[in-house]
């Protein structure tokens, strides 16, 4: 038998353990063994996961992500972690929150966890959003899973007294996740949905143009829809509005060395590859080519 009670070597920092003796103090990223506090369905596709967190994990910034070791949904193991961006940070309670869509084996495995289960996460990872002091009003545009990613930056903006307009896109009203999260920080909420056609590119463009006219768009933030990203990018270019986009790509290491997670960007007319895990996941909206 192995020496420790695991088969695959690992030496995570255990949240709540008295000393972090084995964990070098200077590291900023941690493999952490958290405990699940809650893991509840928010609709028929999405779950909301709350876990205990260590001080290093709590230092996560909006737009950063954790690389989550999901348990198996069946009898077979999983062999890659799954990246999940941070959805909420509760420093006081020492908790992290994630909002995830159940799509494949990994996320379905994650969905099997319950309070008290141990969840191994690596993070905080990547470069998050930046909020420049000169911005008074920002526009966030999210769809689907992207709504989760938009929540913490909106919250930070709210805390700093920056005005937030949140354009929330979804198939129908029941998938308009975390509306309350945006409401709680006093964001102006513009729901756009497929069922009534409000999420159409033309309509979203009209909304954005109105916000620009109103001086409500000092910066753009987006995640979750290629179609809507393209609108933001175009308008950002037209009006010189800075923008940031959170990207996704299949990942192996999540830390930089493997070069699995590259995406193409365009910088000064040149195509370049960048790693979503360390050079992102947040990128300049003008350099991105597609979500």
């Amino acid at each position: 038998m192995t020496l420790r009670d695991y088969r695959y070597a690992s030496q995570p920092f255990v949240v709540g353990a008295s000393a972090a003796a084995d964990f070098p103090a200077h590291t900023v990223v941690e493999e952490t063994l958290t405990e699940v506090v809650a893991n509840d369905w928010v609709n028929d596709e999405y779950k909301h996961l709350v876990v205990t967190a260590s001080p290093k994990a709590l230092a996560v910034k909006p737009g950063q992500f954790f690389h989550v070791l999901c348990p198996s949904p069946d009898q077979g193991d999983l062999w890659f972690r799954r990246p999940q961006s941070i959805y909420a940070i509760d420093k006081d309670a020492g908790r992290l929150e994630f909002l995830y869509k159940c799509v494949g084996r990994g996320t379905h495995g994650l969905a099997t966890m319950g309070p008290g289960d141990k969840c191994n996460i690596v993070g905080p990872l990547g470069i998050g959003f930046s909020l420049e002091p000169q911005w008074k009003n920002i526009v966030v545009l999210g769809r689907g899973v992207g709504l989760a990613t938009m929540a913490p930056i909106s919250q930070l903006a709210g805390e700093r007294g920056v005005g937030v307009t949140a354009i929330l896109s979804a198939r129908n009203a029941s998938y308009l996740l975390s509306r309350e999260k945006f409401a709680a920080i006093g964001a102006a909420i513009v729901p756009v949905i497929d069922t009534d056609g409000t999420s159409a590119v033309e309509n979203v463009e009209a909304i954005l143009r109105a916000l620009i006219d109103d001086g409500k768009a000092d910066a753009f933030f987006t995640c979750g829809s290629n179609r809507l990203f393209q609108v933001m990018r175009r308008l950002g270019k037209e009006f010189g509005i800075p923008g940031q986009i959170a990207m996704e790509q299949i990942m192996a290491c999540g830390l930089g060395p493997c070069y699995v997670c590259v995406k193409t960007f365009e910088v000064d007319g040149q195509k370049v590859l960048r790693r979503v895990c360390v050079e992102g996941p947040v990128f300049d909206i003008q350099e991105a080519l597609g979500w």
């Binding site: 695959y8 070098p24 590291t27 193991d77 890659f80 972690r81 690596v122 192996a252 290491c253 493997c258």
Partner: protein, 315 residues
């Protein structure tokens, strides 16, 4: 307390645990104390910039992963100017890894990368997905011999030849590398493999096929390390599917002097540190004084070969 140090030719490592090329960079210092590693093995570099292969570049499979990264690199000059000084902030010996288009280029690369601070050169003659311009020279003994000999002639650094498990006659390739002057053999690179997504009917990798690594391949590479260690007298470095300390012990028993670890770093970034700690505990518990004594210590000489006698005893 066990002495974990091992020797690979003239080079002494504080312990037998190294990262495998391509699975490691100094970016790991974000999460572990990389000064604890036996050595640092850099990602393979080639002379000029290479973008790599089309995405998707990796897919999960049972007990591991397949990848077709395609050896992206910023090129030799960038390595010497930026990466080498970066690596030298850390204490473990540095193993540079090189790839090239042909034997000439390998020779020139080996010469040019023999800078102070590079403690050994691993020649990656075995990348299964590199294109264009061939790449998997280690499929054949004659190509291997040629490249190793030419590399040998231009550098005083220890030369480690990284072999390919896709070779049909890997022992012959190993012997050719030894003969041509390799100081050590890294056994091995990834195994060419494939996955097709049954939902989309498409290959899971942009490159269609890719290299297989992770726990699944361990028994295959273990057999190769065992066969090669019986045939050569230079040190062998085991590489393939290591996921815990017992896997390292198993490779050493089979003949390895040290190991390189790839995939499991992706699953658990703290794995190498945990493995080093566990190796110490494992040896201490059994009163093993020097871990180096485990190399080639497999007890296979007195095995029962009579079928009826074997099946009469125990299991």
């Amino acid at each position: 307390m066990v002495d974990l140090s091992v020797k690979i030719g003239a080079l002494t490592l504080a312990n037998p645990v190294m990262p495998a090329s391509g699975s490691f960079s100094t970016e790991y210092a974000q999460v572990i104390d990389i000064n604890r590693l036996g050595a640092l093995v850099a990602k393979t570099v080639s002379r000029n910039f290479r973008a790599g292969n089309p995405t998707p570049r990796a897919a999960e499979v049972e007990a591991g992963m397949i990848n077709s990264i395609g050896l992206p690199t910023k090129g030799l000059q960038y390595f010497l100017d930026v990466q080498l000084p970066d690596y030298k902030q850390y204490t473990p010996p540095l193993v540079a890894s090189i790839s090239a288009e042909d034997a000439d280029d390998f020779q020139a690369m080996a010469r040019d990368i023999s800078a102070p601070g590079v403690d050994a050169i691993e020649i990656n003659i075995s990348c299964p997905t590199r294109k264009p311009g061939g790449g998997n020279f280690a499929l054949q003994a004659n190509h291997t011999r040629d490249i190793v000999a030419r590399v040998r002639s231009v550098t005083d650094k220890p030369v480690w030849a990284k072999l390919s498990p896709n070779a049909g006659e890997i022992v012959d390739v190993a012997l050719a590398a030894e003969e041509a002057g390799a100081d050590a053999l890294t056994v091995a690179n990834t195994i060419l493999a494939m996955k097709i997504d049954v939902a989309s009917f498409r290959p899971a990798l942009g490159n269609k096929v890719g290299g297989f690594s992770g726990p699944a391949i361990k028994p295959i590479i273990m057999r190769m390390v065992y066969q090669i260690s019986k045939a050569v007298s230079i040190p062998v470095i085991g590489c393939g599917g290591i996921s815990n300390a017992e896997d390292v012990i198993e490779y050493m028993l089979a003949g390895a002097s040290a190991v390189e670890i790839g995939y499991i770093n992706f699953r658990n970034p703290t794995a190498m540190i945990s493995i080093i700690d566990d190796l110490r505990d494992w040896c201490d518990k059994r009163g093993i004084k020097r871990i180096a004594d485990l190399t080639r210590a497999v007890r296979d000489d007195d095995m029962e070969t009579d079928i009826y006698a074997a099946a009469a005893q125990g299991l």
